[in-house]
Symmetry: C2
Subunit: 448 residues, 2 copies
């Protein structure tokens, strides 16, 4: 349906969407420094309650990798007011669902409940922001759970191990090179003191963003937030986040990982790439469109057309870029060669496509179709209130503002083919890249 709207009032439609979003959103800060975003959506009597901390795995101290994620687990242990496991039991007993996760830049806690249970969620979430009680046994038990999680997700997954080694090579200095879940040998040594130090410093109202989305009234949310969160003590002298940044990357890197468990060998090259910055998202928008053009929608993409349809040497191709990041992100290209096609041949073909793209530039029709798709995705995404809430939480804990979130769709639409090519020429610098080969066994070709 949306494909037929090419050439119609893209900007007008978009303006409408942004205006609507702006109308539904209220934001303010509590006296103790906690930021609050309220997103109204009265279609159903439910509310999503989220607390986002501006702290993630990339903020961990050297040697303490995994502490942000371990603490996320420990947050369900209990306080003076709610015993161990009670948080989750109360959410479930009230018909709610919940979730929590840790990223490089943030840690978030969500509940989705009937709108009239919001006060209860705030009571419990504010209670555990400052009142967590941890025993040594809590920590060692949960550490074992996390180690088991790492075993199943990473150690038993060649692709995940490969990814860890590639990230460690992509970043020469920044802690995005350290896995979110932590290095196994460092997880094993985390203890109660590490968890409490991290918790007391970073789990504080002046380091948190509350996002409430759904069938709520902003005035009432404010009153509740002041009652529950407003009485919490901030961490004094909390310094601005400051991570080590990258030195000039001046040498292309390659690595190969061989594992008998690999079912499908592939090539992935990741270039260091600019992220979305407050008030300055143009480059990231061009990279977002570039990724879509090159490998976004499978066979209709530049890589798909050439390697899957025309040359028939790839099973799958993709290009990936996520600009939502506090510090420099990555732009990845993936080629999964067909049986009988070597990784070297796949990589050479990928490089030939890139060279041709840099030579020939963007097909304007392709760009127009893509931007229409992006716009449609954006409009559909607005129906998912939890997704919208998440978008604000992620952005506000990744260095962006509400205005940046609201401007983003329009910035994406304003990207021109010249912007895309300028971004491509900037990002495709092999000196700032890691090329990885995931290989099945030693008798595969010599990638390293």
């Amino acid at each position: 349906m949306y494909l037929r709207q090419v050439g119609l009032g893209v900007v007008a439609l978009l303006t409408l969407a942004v205006a609507a979003a702006a109308e539904n959103i209220t934001s303010f800060s509590l006296d103790n420094g906690m930021d609050v975003v309220v997103i109204e959506d009265h279609r159903a009597p439910v509310v999503t309650h989220m607390v986002w901390y501006r702290i993630g795995a990339a903020d961990e101290q050297p040697g303490k990798s995994g502490i942000a994620h371990l603490l996320e687990h420990l947050m369900f242990k209990g306080t003076e007011n709610f015993g161990p496991g009670e948080f989750s039991r109360v959410v479930a007993a009230n018909g709610g669902s919940e979730n929590a996760f840790t990223s490089y830049d943030y840690t978030g806690y969500f509940q989705r409940v009937a709108a009239d249970r919001l006060a209860l969620m705030m009571e419990m979430e504010s209670d555990r922001m400052r009142g967590l009680i941890l025993s040594d046994n809590d920590v060692t038990t949960e550490r074992d759970v996390v180690l088991e999680e790492r075993n199943s997700r990473t150690e038993n997954n060649p692709g995940a191990l490969f990814s860890e080694q590639r990230m460690a090579s992509l970043y020469l200095n920044h802690h995005y090179g350290i896995p979110i879940i932590g290095w196994k040998h460092e997880i094993k040594q985390l203890n109660r003191r590490d968890a409490l130090e991290f918790y007391r410093k970073y789990y504080a109202p002046n380091n948190a963003v509350l996002v409430v989305a759904g069938d709520v009234d902003p005035v009432e949310v404010r009153q509740l937030a002041e009652r529950y969160y407003g009485q919490l003590q901030p961490t004094p002298d909390l310094m601005p986040r400051h991570r080590p940044s990258e030195p000039p990357q001046i040498s292309p890197r390659r690595l190969s990982y061989v594992d008998s468990r690999v079912s499908q060998p592939y090539i992935i090259r990741t270039y260091l790439a600019e992220e979305r910055n407050p008030g300055d998202q143009k480059q990231a928008a061009a990279l977002t469109i570039l990724a879509e053009l090159l490998g976004g929608s499978g066979i209709s993409s530049v890589l798909g057309q050439e390697l899957q349809l025309k040359q028939k040497i790839a099973l799958h191709v993709s290009a990936y870029y996520d600009g939502l990041s506090l510090d420099k992100s990555g732009f990845a290209l993936v080629v999964v060669p067909k049986e009988g096609i070597t990784l070297q041949a796949g990589e050479d073909a990928m490089d030939a496509v890139l060279a041709e793209f840099l030579e020939n530039g963007v097909d304007e029709d392709h760009l127009a179709r893509l931007k229409m798709q992006v716009r449609a995705d954006e409009i559909y995404a607005r129906d998912n209130i939890q997704g919208i809430a998440r978008r604000y939480g992620e952005a506000l804990t990744s260095g962006l503002t509400i205005a940046d979130v609201q401007a983003w769709p329009e910035i994406l639409q304003s990207v021109t083919s010249e912007d895309v090519m300028a971004a491509a020429r900037q990002v495709f610098d092999r000196r700032r890249s890691v090329t990885g080969w995931l290989m099945r066994s030693d008798d595969d070709e010599g990638g390293e």
Copy 2:
């Protein structure tokens, strides 16, 4: 001369050397935790006075790279008792020479003066251990000096830039991957507060080793040390050094650095390697001998014989390993191909030599000759009192003990061909290596 002694009393001679060393060395600790080593050598009326801090670049906080080295510069700024630059002026006025340097694991300050000036050196060195005065201007001025040092030593030196990128790739987690002088963009941001925090915490008697070597009496040294250093306050609650260690390295890495200023392209492969550990130096000794066998003495080495003499494809080869390191070290192999020989051909030839060596094992005559050379070097080295003093200072700030230093020559002599081959099989695992190509220009072969 020493070559003719093959088969004679190696062990007897060695025992003699160790016994002599043991006789000349006295060690004790002051009440405030400062360790003292006195090495007597009455051949000339001079003394070397060294203070070694158990702090180096690998102990820096993330984002603060270069602070250990910048502080080394700032230590010459002045105190209440000795104005800026006076330290060096006094040393020179007393006919002395001085030096200071920063490594990954330690920072050291040396003076060599007439033996009767020892008290003066202690007075000044103890004074600046706790009494350094720094202005903002001192720091910004010296930071510019360091930036200029980095410009001339690193930025204008393709080999140094190449080395930085390789080290960052060799270590996935440990801070040996960060250059000692610091990343340029981080040096630029270092300030007075960073310097003073680092100084106050780590420049303390309980984090220092005093080494006094030369024409001195241990009893007098002790009295002087107690008078000058003994009155200094230790840093309370100084934690044991704990650096992030490496996760399993499971993927071979490669990188290439292209620079038009490169005069001589070469291949260097570095494998992560075990270091000398207290009470456990056997593996490091085998690796030391292995490096000598493979590439230590140029053309008489395994690589030299094959690549320089026989195949005539290399201008130069070398193998390098330094076990004196607090944490995991590196074992490097270098091949500089002759004009007209590609880096790929050079690397393939190097790998063929390695494979053959692993297959054929050690030539016993070669090993015997080498051990004799090592022993001779050791005996001659004992004549250099400053070198000996340095050896103890380095060892005691790199996790070793006096006993380890004294046992080391004997452990080296006890290395068998089986030990060497076991160490070779252990260390030559490509998954724990980085292979680097230093290349002159883009029209060289495609290494990356």
